[in-house]
């Protein structure tokens, strides 16, 4: 191989000191995403303090997040199933960085939680809270901590977080 061609490195100083010309643009990218029939009803359930899943009779799976069609069988899903408010930690992390790379002193704790009543391995992403981060382990049993009914909005955040069942 030969020496690489071009790829001239600039430093953040070069930008601050305006040693090169730049232009900038911030698009106004606002969206109203359709929730669809399945997630729309999922959000209704959350407002009422319920965790809803969909069943597929063909493969027998109970699916959360719920969906209008089973992606394995490629057919519409069949029924609404209400799940328990408990689950198991499949995996978790202690995150000290925000999306725009700012530091956090106290970590946020994302997790994949397998929900009781759904097919094994079927989980959702949510947050762990109300526990010392050092105590968290894969396999721990957790329960949902809901916001009070008058604070719920029809959002995944109607569940504040999940905490270990003592």
């Amino acid at each position: 191989m030969k020496e690489p061609k071009l790829g001239t490195a600039l430093s953040s100083e070069d930008f601050k000191k305006k040693r090169v010309f730049t232009t900038s643009y911030k698009p106004k990218a606002e969206y109203a995403w359709d929730t669809g029939f399945a997630i729309g009803h999922y959000l209704e359930g959350l407002k009422e303090g319920k965790l809803l899943a969909r069943s597929c009779k063909k493969c027998g799976r109970i699916l959360i997040p719920p969906r209008a069609f089973c992606e394995l069988c490629f057919r519409p899903t069949d029924d609404w199933i209400e799940l328990e408010h408990t689950g198991t930690i499949n995996t978790f992390s202690l995150c000290y960085i925000t999306w725009d790379m700012r530091k956090l002193t106290d970590p946020v704790i994302p997790s994949v939680i397998e929900i009781d009543g759904a097919t094994e391995g079927c989980g959702i992403m949510h947050m762990i809270g109300g526990v010392d981060p050092k105590a968290i382990q894969v396999g721990m049993k957790v329960e949902a901590v809901w916001k009070p009914a008058d604070e719920r909005e029809g959002s995944i955040t109607d569940i504040k977080h999940w905490r270990p069942i003592l």
């Binding site: 191989m1 030969k2 020496e3 690489p4 061609k5 071009l6 790829g7 001239t8 490195a9 600039l10 430093s11 953040s12 070069d14 930008f15 090169v20 900038s24 643009y25 911030k26 969206y31 995403w33 929730t35 997630i39 999922y42 959000l43 699916l63 997040p65 969906r67 992606e71 499949n90 995996t91 978790f92 992390s93 202690l94 995150c95 000290y96 960085i97 925000t98 999306w99 725009d100 790379m101 970590p107 946020v108 994302p110 997790s111 994949v112 097919t119 391995g121 079927c122 989980g123 959702i124 992403m125 949510h126 947050m127 894969v138 396999g139 959002s155 995944i156 955040t157």
Partner: protein, 388 residues
């Protein structure tokens, strides 16, 4: 399966954190160097394939069209292909289809990424990978998915962070021999683990950088290959597979989509025992644990065993099955699509004995390159080799 296809030339830019060049200028640099390396001219090219990841990085919508002139596509049949991080290894697969079909004789394949344009930080473009309704409300960032996957991999197999940190040591060391490298360094496992925790168990030195860069190859059918060079490198296996976007419904400890893509490529190449027949590998290593995860998916280590083999030196450049001899994404850099193409270029240079300081000393028969992308979903695999 149709006409046999070869890689006959390669070109690359430096990979840097912030490049002065515009994206088309980066493309032209890599593409023109690839042509020079093959001794071919712009007029010899029948079609152009470009691979580049989200438009949000370079900040130009319809990025494929924007990059077409710099990719040598003026008045030529041109496609832009994109499968997230898998793009850099998928682009040559896309070119393979153009050539194996007999429709075209030669193809210029260019991959580019300029992540530094994205503000406030390129990582921000990745938050849209999460579901807008059920996940974004939780305030996620890209590091979450990797940290969650690494934690699962460690928990299922009982792997420690020390074992995983070794990947950074190996790759940044290997990258010292790569002229394009952004982050070549001599590090110890302790130094990797002393770097700040970003999202436990991921430490800063376990993460590949955001980068700007481009890389390109020239591919031809077998008839043209032999007239261009006496050392064509054959594309003997291609494979690709996509797993479900419902990533919280599957076990992240093992990349079954990499296994599927790998067997598709191995079967095409007639490889029955990859761990014995593959001479060296360039698995995708955006994070330390990913290289190990992918080596297992590529059938080059039994499930859960890659860390142990790594510790024994099995995957070192002078080991039994060198892995990321280039220095990988961790050492050379990660301009998303160009990073995968850098691995294809590495296979090309290694198999021709042109890898300079990085050259693997033993005889090389087959190399495998693999890239990964999307929501822990895509596996793209290419097997390249010299005639035995």
């Amino acid at each position: 399966m149709g006409k046999r296809v070869a890689v006959v030339g390669a070109g690359i830019t430096k990979f840097v954190r912030r490049a002065q060049e515009t994206p088309p200028e980066l493309c032209w640099a890599a593409a023109s160097q690839a042509l020079e390396s093959a001794g071919m001219s712009f007029d010899d090219i029948d079609c152009v394939i470009h691979g580049t990841a989200p438009d949000a990085f370079d900040g130009v919508h319809m990025k494929g069209e924007y990059l077409s002139a710099g990719s040598g596509a003026w008045r030529k049949p041109y496609t832009r292909t994109y499968v997230g991080g898998g793009t850099g290894v998928y682009a040559p697969i896309h070119a393979w289809k153009h050539l194996a079909s007999g429709k075209f004789r030669t193809a210029l394949v260019v991959c580019e990424e300029k992540m530094s344009s994205c503000q406030p930080h390129p990582q921000g473009a990745f938050i849209t990978i999460f579901d807008h309704t059920t996940e974004r409300a939780l305030g996620p960032n890209l590091l979450w998915i990797f940290a969650l996957e690494q934690q699962r991999y460690m928990a299922v197999h009982g792997i420690t962070n020390e074992e995983i940190a070794r990947v950074a040591v190996k790759n940044k060391h290997n990258a010292m021999g790569h002229p394009s490298a952004q982050l070549g360094a001599e590090l110890t496992v302790d130094e990797v683990l002393e770097s700040e925790i970003m999202a436990y168990p991921v430490h800063r030195l376990m993460v590949s950088p955001t980068s700007d860069g481009a890389a390109a190859v020239i591919m031809t059918n077998e008839d043209v290959a032999k007239s261009v060079t006496d050392q064509p490198v054959w594309v003997d296996g291609v494979g690709w597979a996509l797993d479900t976007a419902f990533w919280t419904n599957r076990d992240l400890y093992y990349p079954r989509y990499v296994e599927k893509a790998a067997w598709m490529a191995y079967n095409m190449a007639g490889i029955k025992n990859p761990a014995e027949e593959i001479s060296f590998a360039e698995p995708y290593d955006p994070f330390c644990y990913k290289e190990l995860h992918h080596l297992e998916g590529l059938q080059l280590a039994p499930k859960g065993q890659a860390p142990k083999l790594l510790a024994e030196g099995y995957f070192d450049r002078d080991g039994k099955l060198p892995s990321c001899p280039s220095g990988g994404l961790l050492g050379v850099g990660n301009p998303i699509a160009a990073a995968g193409m850098m691995k294809i270029c590495e296979l090309f240079w290694q198999l021709r004995g042109e890898a300079g300081e990085r050259q693997i000393k033993k005889d090389l028969r087959w190399g495998v390159a693999q890239a990964w992308g999307d929501l822990m979903q895509v596996g793209t695999v290419v097997v390249m080799g010299r005639d035995g």
